[in-house]
Symmetry: C2
Subunit: 243 residues, 2 copies
């Protein structure tokens, strides 16, 4: 991991862009750190540049509670080489949605499963590098992003101790099955009127998740309408489980 840029905001939060091999990422650390900060991994749908305003807002909100936050570009997104398979699957999905047809499981599998296969080892490698920094410590929280990546990470990565998942994307059946193995405390966010999300499938996924402590927060509104108070709730959830 190599830091490439560094800037400090007026709230004292330090933002550093980095590359992990050829994968771009960003690390934010709180203003005043008397001890290593617990880390929260910030997920996103891919495309760091477009997602930056929301990510930096969430990171600074985390930092206000004493957490470090980090994110990594997804395979096939942003400046990374595109995947022809994923692009084709995405086009098929858009065609189905535009035509008002149900989206075939096969399309969702083609779109999401290779992404999970590639992204999860990358995020674990980023964790190795981030936790090697003296200013960062575990246990680690995971917040948002592609829920299928979050489920796999929560299952395979023992350093993740709690996760906030956003039920806001298509989920392969295999991931719903895998969800039964998730054991860490979960807060699942669902936008009740999400135009691009099947509500029943999101509820089925919540039901399938194996965690003994899991909470669903469903709010009225569309995909991007998560109320600001959910950021406070997520912070309190992580304070309960990471500190």
């Amino acid at each position: 991991m190599r830091f490439t840029t560094e800037q400090r905001f007026d709230d004292g939060v330090l933002e550093r862009e980095f590359v992990l091999g050829d994968i771009p990422g960003i690390l934010w650390t709180p203003a005043s750190m008397s001890a290593p900060a617990p880390l929260i991994l910030l997920g996103h749908p891919g495309g760091l540049r477009a997602m930056y305003p929301r990510l930096v807002a969430r990171a600074r909100h985390c930092a206000a509670e004493g957490f470090a936050a980090a994110t990594l570009e997804l395979p096939g997104s942003g400046d990374r080489p595109r995947s022809a398979t994923a692009d084709e699957a995405r086009a098929d999905l858009r065609r189905a949605v535009a035509a008002g047809e149900p989206v075939d499981d096969e399309i969702v599998d083609r779109l999401v499963l290779p992404l999970v296969e590639q992204a999860v080892p990358e995020w674990r490698a980023a964790l190795d590098a981030l936790l090697a920094l003296p200013e960062i410590r575990g246990p680690v929280g995971l917040a948002g992003g592609v829920i299928s990546i979050g489920v796999r990470l929560a299952v395979v990565e023992p350093r993740i101790a709690a996760a906030v998942l956003f039920a806001g994307s298509y989920v392969p059946r295999a991931v719903v099955e895998e969800a039964r193995q998730v054991a860490v405390p979960l807060l699942v966010l669902l936008q009740w009127d999400d135009e691009g999300n099947d509500r029943q499938m999101a509820l089925d996924l919540f039901d399938a998740l194996g965690a003994e402590e899991k909470t669903l927060h469903a709010n009225t509104g569309g995909h991007t309408g998560v109320p600001a108070f959910e950021g406070d709730d997520a912070n309190r959830f992580f304070v309960r489980h990471l500190t």
Copy 2:
């Protein structure tokens, strides 16, 4: 309204039992009050004596945030005259549940609708009396209790500005329809594994509620297993909407 007993707890909260006509109730006010406190009505399933430990805990939790809290016995419960119709409906419901049969809408209607008809004017009369006290002010919050009573109160009582509803009881179809008229901000609690509650009906009710700002908090666990942190969340919800 006539106060009958008075005691002060070690956190300074003042508890006063009262009667409104022949209906018993309890009022709790915070330790230090420099100004009138906003009021939260604490609902319950009926039977003040049995519910007292949970009610007093919630009231003191509310008081810690500066809220007054009050509750009223339900028709047919506790020391109040029983209703033969309600007792019969309750027996029919228990028989159906014990036999593993679906509970007829007709039984639910017989059990709940007369209770709503009688309880709602009583709670409104209690509001009149409570808000006439110099130490209490509106707007008023409503928390928990029989959800059908909560829905009707939220629809007909303009002094109620926000409500926490507990999706934990049988709901007549007519109430699901009436729910569309609820306009105040809502926090709806659902116990995901509630043994005495139909989960799909609870989700349908949440969907039907007309409020522009509504949030569902679903947690793993049975009817009485609402996690302690939901009490904090409810307090913060009321702080957002009543202060």
